[in-house]
Symmetry: C2
Subunit: 195 residues, 2 copies
Amino acid sequence: MSRSTLTPISYLVLGWTSFEPATSYELKRLSADSVGYFWEFPHSQLYAEPARLTKLGLLEEKRELTGRRRRIYSITEEGRQALGDWLREPTSEEPQIRDIGLLKLFFQDALEDGNVVALAQAQEQAHRKKLSFYEELDSTIPHEAGFGRATLQAGLIFERAFAEFWSEIAAHPPTAFIRSDRRARDKTRKRVAHE
Amino acid sequence: MSRSTLTPISYLVLGWTSFEPATSYELKRLSADSVGYFWEFPHSQLYAEPARLTKLGLLEEKRELTGRRRRIYSITEEGRQALGDWLREPTSEEPQIRDIGLLKLFFQDALEDGNVVALAQAQEQAHRKKLSFYEELDSTIPHEAGFGRATLQAGLIFERAFAEFWSEIAAHPPTAFIRSDRRARDKTRKRVAHE
DNA sequence: CCTATCATGTAATCCGTTACATGATTAT
DNA sequence: ATAATCATGTAACGGATTACATGATAGG
């Protein structure tokens, strides 16, 4: 029990419930509609995680008596404390950018007949699409929308930068680098045989 | 067996071995020193994944006869095919940005006594540090370094943009948005009781 | 020769993903 | 009424993360 640390999803759930009690489905909607734009959390986790947090005493579960008998979670004092501690502690952790497009770009060296331009165009288009979505959002939400708005600015910046990046790649596609350089490493290798 | 799909790590391993055969440790070094800058893969995966790919017939394993008896993996024709198919297929998938800093920023609304400036400064510093690391790298690697260099450009752009973003937050910290708006939702809620 | 770090894994557990399932609501 | 979609979960599995462990190599 003791060693179960809190993960980002834990803080996501604590964060939302710190505003007001919520069901798993509400957590899902809220998240999909905000943080989910840049960091997706699978909905099954938003059903599993509150149960875990309840066991840890950071949430409390109530249940509807009729109809869907939904579980409604509210944050406890310990929960609020844990969330506050986490929020107050600055972090120097670097973001992970899990970008399939970049990964594909990186390994294009493996192909002689690749089509980088197609990749770059698909990526540029995807980023531009998200960018206009963000712009639309930005123009509709109130100006005093707190930190949610600040996060949205990060999204705007990111999408702009990457649309720009991919457009540049499409315009001036790099050429593959042929690698053939196993000498150095082979010196350190022992004799090798099958199986 | 059949249903085991290939994940990003699979393609990472296929990608590296497509250049030349490698041990798990080499995969780890190579990755940590390139893609790992923006997308980290735990080293234990780089021991587990090649075994999996070997079972699927996409890699072949040889073993040293003496000393450490390391396992050396080379790509098979099927492997090369799978990698090529993947590389040639453009993707519109959007990147996931798993950024603890942004997540913390987003939920600062939950605090009345938060210290956003400290957070923003820590983040800005981290991004600037990585940025100068990239710049150093960029100035040392050969100009015809293929797609690896292109990927590095993305890194530079990203770090610059985010350093800029956090510096802006530090200079003009947003203020919290007080939420209290449970009316709408409560209308749809059934009666509730403990346990 | 001793120590530190590099290199090479294994184990246990938990998280994440996908798929399935089904009861309410809303739209036509 | 029926179909479609919304809402609310559960199950199963495999991948991901963290810890642990230990044998080589190099540096002092």
